[in-house]
C-alpha cells in the first residue's frame, strides 16, 4: 500500500484532507488501542466492538479538528474513553419501569442499581498481571485501571462507580500499593491490612 511509505504525520494530514484511503489506514493503526480502551471500559469483547466502531466514527468525524496539541494516539485514547463513558452513562440513565423476573422468581436488579464496571474480566490478561488484579479487591483494581490505564478523571470514576471522589482517590492509592505488593510477591496479609480503611 502506498500509504505505508508515508510518515504518520503526512498520513494523518492526508486523512484530514479527505483522503479515504489514508483515513482507513489511520483508523486501522489506532484500532488496537481504541479497542483495548473499549474492552477495559466495557468489560466484554462484544460491547467493546460496538463502542470501538462508535469511537472510530467520532475520531473520523472530528479528525479535522485535531490540531496536534497532543499525540494522535493520546487523542484517540481519550475519544474512545469518552465514547464508552457516554454509553455507560446512557445505560445507567435509561429509565426502567418494567420489573423483570429471574427464572427463580426473584426480581432482576434494575440497571440503575448495577455497577456497570463490575463485569470487567481479566481473562485475556497476561498471567502475572491477571493474578495480581484478581488478588486485589475488585473495587480497588477497577479504580486503578480506570485512572491509571484508562486515564479517566477522578470525577468521572466517581460518577461511574457511584462513590465519592475521596473514596476514588483512596481506592486508587491503596489499589496501587496492593497491586505493587502483589506484583512483588502475593502478600495477602498486606492486602487485608490495606483494605481495612475503605470506609468513606
Amino acid at each position: 500500500m502506498a500509504h505505508e511509505l508515508l510518515s504518520d504525520s503526512r498520513l494523518l494530514q492526508r486523512a484530514q484532507q479527505g483522503d479515504r484511503a489514508a483515513l482507513s489506514t489511520v483508523l486501522g493503526e489506532q484500532y488496537q488501542r481504541v479497542f483495548a480502551v473499549c474492552l477495559r471500559m466495557m468489560g466484554s469483547r462484544t460491547a467493546a466492538e460496538d463502542q470501538t466502531q462508535e469511537a472510530l466514527l467520532r475520531i473520523a468525524r472530528g479528525l479535522s479538528s485535531f490540531e496536534g496539541k497532543s499525540t494522535f494516539g493520546t487523542w484517540c485514547h481519550r475519544v474512545a474513553a469518552t465514547t464508552c463513558l457516554d454509553e455507560l452513562r446512557r445505560q445507567r440513565r435509561r429509565p426502567t419501569t418494567t420489573t423483570l423476573t429471574n427464572t427463580d422468581g426473584t426480581d432482576v436488579e434494575p440497571i440503575d442499581n448495577v455497577d456497570v464496571t463490575a463485569g470487567i474480566e481479566w481473562s485475556d490478561v497476561r498471567a502475572d498481571i491477571r493474578e495480581a488484579l484478581d488478588a486485589v479487591p475488585a473495587e480497588f483494581a477497577r479504580a486503578v485501571v480506570l485512572r491509571d490505564v484508562l486515564e479517566l478523571e477522578y470525577q468521572e470514576i466517581a460518577d461511574l462507580t457511584g462513590v465519592a471522589t475521596g473514596t476514588v482517590k483512596s481506592r486508587i492509592s491503596r489499589g496501587r500499593a496492593l497491586l505493587a505488593e502483589q506484583l512483588r510477591g502475593n502478600r495477602n496479609d498486606d492486602v487485608e491490612r490495606l483494605t481495612n480503611g475503605d470506609n468513606e
Partner: protein
C-alpha cells in the same frame, strides 16, 4: 521505556506508582489481541457511515426552528433551537413572562402542507421580528454555542485530554444561555406536575427529534429550572408519564405520572 523493559521491572525499581502503572498499561492495553477481520469490518462500517452522512440531504435548520409569533411581542418570548449532540434539538424559551407561558413548536408530522407554507412565512416574520428584539439578539450566539457543543467535545479532548465530556460542554452552553440571555421558570419539585399540565394546556407539544441525552422512548417537551437545576421535561412515549432530566448529567431526577387526567 519499552514494553520489554517495563515487564522486567518490579515495583522496587524506581517510582512505585510509575512502574505499576507502566506494567498495567502494557498488559491491559498493549497486549490486547485484536481480530483482523473484525477490525477491517469495523473500519469499513465507519467509512460507509461517513459516506452515508456525506450523501444525506442537508437539513434545513430554519424549517426546524419554526415557532408561532403569537405572544412574541407581548412577552418577548422566543424559542431557540439549539443543536446539542448528533442532531438533537434543544428548545429554550426566553423568560420575560412570569407565568408558565410556553412557546409552541409544532411537530412537523402534524402539519399539513398548507400549514407548512403559512408557518414558513410566519417563521420568517417571527425571525425578522426577533432580530429586532434585544432579548433574542443573541440567538446566533446561542446557536453558535450549540454548534460548539457539537464539536467541542473532540476539540476539548485535544486541548486538555482531561477536559469535560460532552455533557459538561452542554451544561456550560446551557448555563451560559440560561444565565445571560434566557430566564427559565424556576419551580420546585412539588410544582412540577402542575407545570407540566400548564405546559400541555398552553399547547406545548413533543419534539420528535429528542435524541438529547440519548434516553430511549422519551420525547422532549420543554425545559424548566427545577430546584436550581436546569432540566428538560420529557414525555415517555405513549404514556402519560414525564421525566425531569438534568441536562448536565442526563440523570433522571424525577418521574411524574399524571394519571388519566
Amino acid at each position: 521505556m519499552s514494553d520489554d523493559d517495563v515487564n522486567q521491572l518490579t515495583p522496587d525499581d524506581g517510582d512505585l506508582d510509575e512502574v505499576v502503572v507502566a506494567r498495567l498499561r502494557s498488559a491491559l492495553l498493549n497486549d490486547v489481541v485484536i481480530n483482523d477481520t473484525e477490525r477491517d469490518h469495523t473500519i469499513a462500517s465507519v467509512l460507509e457511515a461517513l459516506d452515508n452522512e456525506s450523501q444525506a440531504p442537508v437539513v434545513n435548520i430554519e424549517s426546524q426552528r419554526r415557532f408561532r409569533s403569537q405572544r412574541v411581542l407581548q412577552f418577548a418570548a422566543a424559542v431557540l433551537t439549539v443543536a446539542i449532540g448528533a442532531g438533537a434539538l434543544l428548545q429554550l424559551r426566553s423568560g420575560q413572562s412570569d407565568t408558565a407561558q410556553l412557546s409552541i413548536q409544532e411537530s412537523s408530522r402534524e402539519r399539513s402542507e398548507e400549514n407548512l407554507q403559512s408557518e414558513s412565512e410566519e417563521f420568517a416574520f417571527a425571525e425578522e421580528s426577533a432580530m429586532e428584539e434585544s432579548a433574542v439578539e443573541a440567538a446566533p450566539e446561542a446557536e453558535s454555542l450549540g454548534d460548539m457543543a457539537l464539536s467541542s467535545d473532540l476539540s476539548d479532548t485535544e486541548d486538555e485530554l482531561m477536559a469535560d465530556d460532552m455533557a459538561t460542554v452542554a451544561e456550560s452552553a446551557t448555563e451560559e444561555m440560561a444565565g445571560d440571555v434566557y430566564e427559565l421558570e424556576s419551580i420546585s419539585l412539588d410544582e412540577l406536575p402542575n407545570f407540566i399540565r400548564n405546559a400541555l394546556e398552553q399547547g406545548a407539544t413533543t419534539i420528535p427529534s429528542a435524541a438529547f441525552c440519548e434516553i430511549d422512548n422519551v420525547e422532549l417537551l420543554t425545559e424548566v429550572i427545577l430546584d436550581e437545576i436546569i432540566v428538560v421535561v420529557a414525555r415517555m412515549t405513549g404514556l402519560n408519564k414525564y421525566l425531569a432530566i438534568d441536562v448536565a448529567t442526563c440523570e433522571v431526577l424525577a418521574e411524574i405520572d399524571l394519571g388519566d387526567d
